[in-house]
Symmetry: C3
Subunit: 364 residues, 3 copies
Amino acid sequence: MSAAAAQPVAAHGLTPAERVGIVITLLLTAGAAVARYLPGTPSVAAFVLAGCALAGQAWLVSIATEQLGGHLGPALAGTLQATVGNVPELFVVLFALQAHQALIAQMTLLGSILMNALLVLGLVLVVGAARSRDGIMRFSPRLPNDEATLLLVASFLIVLLGVAHVARDPVSHHGQAISIVGAVMILIVYGSWMRQYLRSGRPQEATSEVMRLTLPLSLVLVTVAGVGSAFTSDWFVHALQPTIHQLHISEQFAGLVIVALAGNAVEHSVGIYLAWRQRAELAIAVVKTSVAQIAAFVFPLLVLVSLLTATPLTFSIAPLYIAALFGTAILVWQITGDGEATVFEGFALIGSFVVIATFAAFGG
Amino acid sequence: MSAAAAQPVAAHGLTPAERVGIVITLLLTAGAAVARYLPGTPSVAAFVLAGCALAGQAWLVSIATEQLGGHLGPALAGTLQATVGNVPELFVVLFALQAHQALIAQMTLLGSILMNALLVLGLVLVVGAARSRDGIMRFSPRLPNDEATLLLVASFLIVLLGVAHVARDPVSHHGQAISIVGAVMILIVYGSWMRQYLRSGRPQEATSEVMRLTLPLSLVLVTVAGVGSAFTSDWFVHALQPTIHQLHISEQFAGLVIVALAGNAVEHSVGIYLAWRQRAELAIAVVKTSVAQIAAFVFPLLVLVSLLTATPLTFSIAPLYIAALFGTAILVWQITGDGEATVFEGFALIGSFVVIATFAAFGG
Amino acid sequence: MSAAAAQPVAAHGLTPAERVGIVITLLLTAGAAVARYLPGTPSVAAFVLAGCALAGQAWLVSIATEQLGGHLGPALAGTLQATVGNVPELFVVLFALQAHQALIAQMTLLGSILMNALLVLGLVLVVGAARSRDGIMRFSPRLPNDEATLLLVASFLIVLLGVAHVARDPVSHHGQAISIVGAVMILIVYGSWMRQYLRSGRPQEATSEVMRLTLPLSLVLVTVAGVGSAFTSDWFVHALQPTIHQLHISEQFAGLVIVALAGNAVEHSVGIYLAWRQRAELAIAVVKTSVAQIAAFVFPLLVLVSLLTATPLTFSIAPLYIAALFGTAILVWQITGDGEATVFEGFALIGSFVVIATFAAFGG
C-alpha cells in the first residue's frame, strides 16, 4: 500500500477522456444558465439540464478531490470537500428564508443531514463492503464516533424543544431564546472538534496511485466545480418549484428529498466513487464531515444569521422529524461506531431513509 | 478445546435416562391433546398438561440442538433452532387475527421480542457469567450488533408511526400504506442480513464433547419436537383464554407474558441449558437469531400476509410499548455489543422485563 | 509509573500549607454555622460563608481521598468518595419531602445526576485530555459501561411512566405502585453491580507518589470533611431559599443547578483535581460511581423510604426532564464507552448541561 507512495510522484495532467468530460460539463452548465434566464423555457427542461450539469460538476470534483487527498491527507481533503459541497444548502436555505418559506428551509437542512447520514452513507457502505475481499469495509472508528457525538448534541437540543412543545410545557414559549443559547453552545462544541480534527490531520492511508494533477491544478478544479455547483443548485431549485406543484408533491418531500438530492449530489457521487476505488477512509471522511458540518455548523449558524432576516429559523421542528433525526443519530452510531460495516448494514441505512421519505411523501 | 474435536467422533445414541424422558414427553403431549378435545375438561387441567408437554419438548429440542451444533456449526444450528421455535408464534398470531383479536396478535409478537431479548437473554447471561471462571461470559460481538441493527431498524419505523400518532400528524391517517412500505424495506434488510449470516457460517466453537447422535437422528428429533411444540402451543393458548377471564388478567399481560412464555419455552430452555454447558456462542446465537427473526421477519411478513385476512395487522402499537421496544433495542445493544457480559448485566435485562410486565399487569 | 510504587513508602504527614488550609476550612465552617443560627444574618452572607466552607471541605476531601486511593485501590476509594459525597443530597431531599416540596426534591436528585454526568464529567474530560501528552484521556471502559447500564435501566422505567402519562394511558393512574416495583428491581440490579464491583477491586493504577498520610489519618480526614459537608450543605440550602425568591430564580433552576452544585461540590473538586493530577482511572471512578449511586441507589431508596413521609416521591417527572435524563444516559455512554476521551468530547457534555440549565432557567 505504501510502496507506491514511496515512489517519485509525477504530474501527468488530465487524460483525454477527462478533458472531454470537462467540456461536456461546461456546456451543460451553460445550457442550465440559459434555461434559467431565457423566458418561456419549460421548467422540466431547465430541471433536467441543471441536474445533468450538477452530475458533471460532481464527477469533476470527485477526480480533483482524490488527487487532493494524495497531497493533503484525507482529513483536510474531506473537510474541503464537505465545505464546497455545503455551499448549495447554505444559499438554498437563505433564499428560502428571505421568501418566508421556513418549512422548505428547515426541511432542506434536515434533508441534507438525513440523506447524507442514511442514503449516501448506506450506498458508500454497500459499495465499499461489496468491493472488499471479505465483505467487510474497514475504517478508523474515531471520525464516525465524533460525528455521532456532534449529531447527538445537536439532536439533544432539538428533542428537548420538541418534547417541551408536545407536552405543552410553558417553557416552549421561549423557543427562540433557547435556540440562540443552544446554537452558540453547539458552535462552541463544533469549534473544539474542528480544532482537534485539523490538528490530528495524519495521512491515514497513503495514496496507492500516481498523483497525476499538481496541487494548484487540483485546487483550481475543486474550486471552480464547487462554485459552479452552487450556482447550478440554485437554478435547479428554481426550476423545481413549478415542477412540485405540477406533480402534486408535498413540500416536506420536496425539501427532504428533492432539494437535498440536488444539494448533495456532489458528496453523493464523490463518496460512492471513493468507496468503489476502495478508499474507505476518505469515502467515510467525505460523507461524515459533511453530516457533522450541516448539523453542528450550518444549522446553528443559520439560526443565528436568520435573526437578521425576515423569517427567523429555530430548532423547533415537527415531532416526526425530531424522532427521525434522533433515530438516525443512534442508528448511524450503532452501525459505524465499530469501524466495520457490511453490505447488510448499508441496506439498513438505505431502508431507513426510504421509510422516512415515505412519511414525507404522504405529507408527514 | 479443539483437541476433542480433532478426535474421531462416535455416535453412541441416546442414554437410558433420555429414552425415559422422551416417553414421558410423548405421554404428556398425548394427555394435552386429549384434554384439548375431550369435552368437559377443566381449562386449568388442560393448561397444566400442555405446559408440561411443552417443557418436555423443549428439553428434547435442547438435546438434539446441541448435537446438531456439532454437526452444522453454531450459525446454522441457531437459525434452525430459532425457526422451529418461532412456528408457535406464527400460528398464534394468525389464529388471533382470524378471530379479530388484533391486540392479542400484536402483544404476542411484541411479547416474543421483549421476553427473548430481556428475560431469556438475561437468564442466559446470568447463568453463563456465573458458570465462567472469572465471572465474565464472552462471545463474538458480531451477532449481537447485527441483531441490534435489525431491532433498531424495525423500531425506527414503529417509533415514527407512534410519534406521528401522538403528535396528531395528518400523516398518521396513512398508517397502513406506510406499514406496507416499511414491511417491504425491513424484509429486504433482513434478507440481506440472512444471506450474509448463512454465508459466514464459520464453526466458531469446536464441540468439546463426543457427538452421540447422528446428523439424521438429531434432525428427526428437532423436527418432531418442534412440530409437536407448535400443536401443543396452540392447545396451551386455547386453554389459556378461559383461565385469563377467570383470574382477571389483562389482555396485555396475557399476550405479552403468558402467550409469549408458551411460545418461547423452547428457546428459553435451550438457551439457558446451553449457557449452563458453557456453550456461550451457541446460547447467544439461539436467543439472538430468534429476536431478530421475530422483529425483522415474522412481524413484517405478518403485516403483509394479514392484508388477506379479516383484520389487517399494522405496526401502529400503543406508545407505552413503542417506548418499551426502543428502550429494549438500546439496552440490549449496550449490554451485549462489546461481546462480554456479567451477572449484573443479566439482572439489568431481567429487571427491565419485570418492569414492563408490571405495566402490562396494570392493563397498560 | 510503577517505579515509585515499588519504593518503600513513608508517611510524612501534612505539609505546613495543608495545615493552614485545614484551619481556614474549620474557621469558615464555624462562620457558616454562626451565620445559620444567629438571628438577623443576611441570607447572602450566610450563602457565601457556607459556599466557601464547602469549597474548603471539598479540597480537604480531595487530599485525603488521593492518599486513600494509594492504600485501598481506586474502586474502594471511589465508592467511599461517592458515598460521602452523596450524604448532602440524601438530607436535602428528605428535608424537602418533609416540607411537602416534592418538585425541589425531584429536581435535586435529577440535578445531581445531570450535573455529575454532564458538567463535572465534562470538566474532568477537558482537564484530563488537555493534560495528557497526545490529547486523549484513557481509562478502563468497564466502569463507564456499567454506569451506562445502570443509568439506562433507571431511565427506562422513568421513560415508560412518562410516555404512559403523556399518551394518557390508563396505566398512569398506577404510577405509585409501578414506582415501588420499579424501585425494588433497580435496587436489586444495583446490588448485583455493587457486589461485582467491590469484588473486582483490583488496584488499576499504582500510585505514582509517596503516600504521605497513614490509612487511619486519611480515613479520619475523609470522614470529618464528609460529615462536615453534610451539615454545611444543609446550611447552604437553608440560606438559598430566600436568595431564590429575592433574585426571581425558577424552582427548577434552583433544584437542578444551585442545590445540585452545593451538594456536588465535593465530587466536583475531587474529580477535576484528580484529572489534573493525571489520575484518569480514579477521576472517572469518583464521578461515575457517584452518578450510578444517585440514579440507581439513592433515588429508588428514597422512593421506598418516602412512603413513610407526608409527601411520597415517585419516578413520575416532567417530560422535558425525562428526555434530558435519557439523552444524558445515551450521550455519556457514547462518549465514555470506548475508554477514550478528548477535549472536544468534554465540551460536548458541558454544552449539553448548559442547554438543559437554560431550559430550567426559563422555568421548564
